[in-house]
Amino acid sequence: MMARYNELLLNEIEEDLPEEDFDIERKNLAIPNISRHRIMKHFLRLSQMNYGVDTNFYPLGSCTMKYNPKLLERIAKIDKIKHIHPLQDESTVQGCLELMYKLEKLLCRLTGMDAFTLQPAAGAHGEFTGMLITRAYFEDRGEKRQSVIVPDSAHGTNPASAKMAGFNVIEIPSKDGMVDIDALESVVDESVAAFMLTNPNTLGIFEKDIVKISKILKSVGALLYYDGANMNAIMGKTTPAKMGFDIVHLNLHKTFATPHGGGGPGAGPVGVRDFLEPYLPVPRVVKDSDTYKLRYDFPKSIGKIGMFYGNFAVLVKAYAYIRMKGKELEKVAEKAVLNSNYLMEKLRSYGFDVPYYGRRMHEFVISLEKFKEKGLRAIDFAKRLLDYGIHPPTIYFPLIVNEAFMIEPTEDADATTLNEFADAMKKIAMEQPELLKEAPHTMPVKRVNEVMAAKQPKLTWKDLD
């Protein structure tokens, strides 16, 4: 596909449009005409320059890179799904509506929430929706609440979403890797609308004071928001509702095995407790005896957050996954947590530092700070791991750990894979520092110059000429 821009411009276009369109007819369009065979080879070659869950171990913390069962792909591609228009008469889309209705019910059971919307297209979109619901709720009560609290270990999307919904963001420090209760109490008052929290948190630590936290927020009438990015750790053991949360978003592309697609599409359904249900986006899927309907008449609803009803093809995949696992989702959480603790202990026994050491849930964070004296940083370990055929963990996050390596093996890694990862880390730690700093050595390109990319942005092939 890469072509020389100016050469493409030379191809003149014959006039196809009627005379009255002459002044607005496009005279050039720099898009190449290429044979199908060459296109296939091009994209196949590109795909071969990419790591995915199906090619390499991919323990990316916070992203839950689990195996994507192939049934999900097959089922979402049937004609009865592909060729359905979202505005068709309800009587001709009963299958779609039934699946949405049933998926909402399953998600309610998993989280303990009373109602769900499937409309948000991604986790951050769900957070934004949750924040708009929070806003609408307080406005409806005639309360002016301006701020939302997030811990300093929160995903970056949390403060960004709260800000987009018009809230001031108050960031509180962590203590021993968990929410600092005193710090929380010192900022909580009746101007606070919500506290956004993920539990287990981004260090993989379960916030065991969650009930206390919930009571602190409730005492001033504020809401507790659950960032469901780490839901994989707790399925079948507890629910956000039990922990006292009022609003939840789930990442179907994390917990429910729908593929990440190189960055998307995902899906970020939002669940709420009953008193917030009136504010959910429209339309809502309702069941009327044996028929499913889309209902718009919810006067307190925040309205629409996306074009139609959400990323339906992704919803189908998540539904298939939940049906396949059923109550054994509990086993998923168990295996994910077991793998994470096993790998953490193994790495620790190899001399890697685990700040705030203790039991972890589905992920854990190690610090590579001590290698700084050898002139090495987390990024050097990350790049060297590529030479071992491993996609590196998330690096430099959460921000409260220096030279952080955030590792989430998921339930799908077997013991051999975990041992290989630990052994690779051990070996790398003993290698000549130069080998790391120059890494990767075996990839299609050597270390990429990101500074130059930002200094002189070249963003289209026109910029390359």
Binding site: K242, K327, V337, E345, V445
Partner: protein, 423 residues
């Protein structure tokens, strides 16, 4: 399992879940199902749907298009679809280069200098464009056409609400929004083709209204339309629905196109891929300008977007590649031709066409009660166009290369039958 437990120093897995008793609970979910049963269950459920092939549809907004098989093959590559956002450039060159090519195509089609790697859909792209214009102009207002798809308006309202951007609706006359200057707006938003499918030819007036308001111009457009008509080079931001290569899927996933002038690059939301070199000077690609994004800038980011619609962008790219310039233009011309053919046939049987200058969507006023007509047509296996409130009995039609003359002729016969049955 035993060995792993030993290595951790615990006897049972329950020790890993030592939650306070008051929050412990089991979930009440059905038993696991095997793959075959799950497939059969979902297929049986979906049997109740009727596809475009079983029931021709003339609905607008999102429309059926033929997707060459090669597109399906490309997006089905596991290396693409099972990968995450390309944070590690050296292990993601394929995805990065493909997204760079996508950005190139979007910039070319829209006539803009830069494009991002996707938004959720056209509606959220518009919301983000309003926020971006507000970051640049800081006035807190946007002028939009009164005649616009209602869902898009609602999404925009939600995006505008947080920062307090006021929305001013430009009244529509003869299907076109009245272009006037406004004192306190960041941007004027126009669509081409617009909600009624009408081709917007008033470029000078748009520029004039924007200049007098010292506002940016945001244009909502359509990738197929842009392959035969001049791109809105006068715009500051161009957004749209990137449906090419992507199936309708009951409305999602979609792909939001987002492009702008280079001078506004650092205000742009979303992921951006840039070309650079590796340390040996060889061409390489990477995500760039990440300091605009939430994972670095947190509350001060240009947007909260993290997951986007990358795989849909790959499908869009693969589609454009497969058709090439000539194929794209051929499809676009076919869309226009078929839509005009359909309109003419409707006119012949008594429909009124208030606007004649359209691309592949158009408004037609039914001589009989439109809502009853649509109901009757469903009985005959036709999903007619979308009902529009004003003027009464109007229907918005969407026609593409999938609506052959034969298919249209058959539909017209059914429409005639339905009209007779109703009169």
């Amino acid at each position: 399992m035993k060995e792993m437990l030993n290595a951790i120093g615990i006897k049972s897995i329950d020790e890993l879940f030592e939650f306070p008793d008051e929050i412990k609970c089991r979930i009440d979910l059905p038993s696991p199902m095997n793959e075959m049963d799950v497939e059969h269950e979902i297929v049986a459920m979906m049997e109740k749907n009727r596809t475009f092939y079983e029931m021709p549809s003339f609905l607008p907004i999102l429309k059926p298009h033929y997707i060459p098989a090669i597109v399906d093959e490309i997006v089905a590559r596991q290396e693409f679809y099972t990968s995450y956002t390309p944070y590690q450039a050296e292990a993601s060159q394929g995805m990065l280069q493909a997204l760079f090519e996508y950005q190139s195509i979007v910039a070319e089609l829209t006539g803009m200098e830069v494009a991002n790697a996707s938004m959720y859909d056209g509606a959220t792209a518009l919301g983000e464009a309003a926020l971006m214009a507000n970051r640049i102009k800081k006035r807190g207002g946007i002028a939009i056409p009164e005649c616009m798809y209602e869902a898009k308006k609602q999404v925009l309202k939600n995006y505008a609400k947080g920062v307090g951007i006021k929305i001013y609706e430009m009244p529509c006359y003869n299907g076109l929004p009245e272009l006037k200057s406004h004192a306190s707006i960041d941007a004027i938003y126009v669509e081409n083709p617009n909600f009624y499918g009408i081709i917007e030819r008033r470029q000078d007036e748009i520029i004039d209204a924007a200049e007098k308001s010292d506002a940016l111009i945001i244009v909502g457009s359509d990738p197929l339309f842009l392959s035969i008509y001049n791109p809105p080079e006068y715009a500051d931001i161009v957004i749209g629905e990137g449906y090419l290569g992507n199936y309708m899927n009951f409305g999602g996933p979609l792909l939001g196109i987002f492009a702008c002038k280079r001078k506004y690059l650092r205000h742009m939301p979303g992921r951006i891929i840039g070309a650079t070199v590796d340390k040996e000077g060889k061409r390489a690609f990477t995500m760039t300008l990440q300091t605009r994004e939430q994972h670095i800038r947190r509350g001060k980011a240009t947007s909260n977007i993290c997951s986007n619609e990358a795989l849909c962008a790959i499908a869009f790219l693969a589609y454009v590649a497969a058709l090439g310039r000539n194929g794209l233009r051929r499809i676009a011309l076919k869309n226009k031709e078929n839509a005009h053919y359909m309109a003419k046939q409707l006119e012949k049987i008594g429909f009124e066409l208030p606007f004649k200058d359209f691309f592949n969507e158009f408004l037609a006023i039914s001589p009989v009660n439109a809502s009853m007509l649509n109901k009757k047509l469903l009985e005959y296996g036709i999903q007619n166009g979308m009902l529009i409130e004003k003027p009464s009995n109007s229907i918005l039609y969407g026609v593409t290369e999938m609506h052959s003359k034969e298919l249209i002729d058959r539909a017209i016969e059914k429409i005639k039958m339905a009209m007779e049955a109703l009169s």
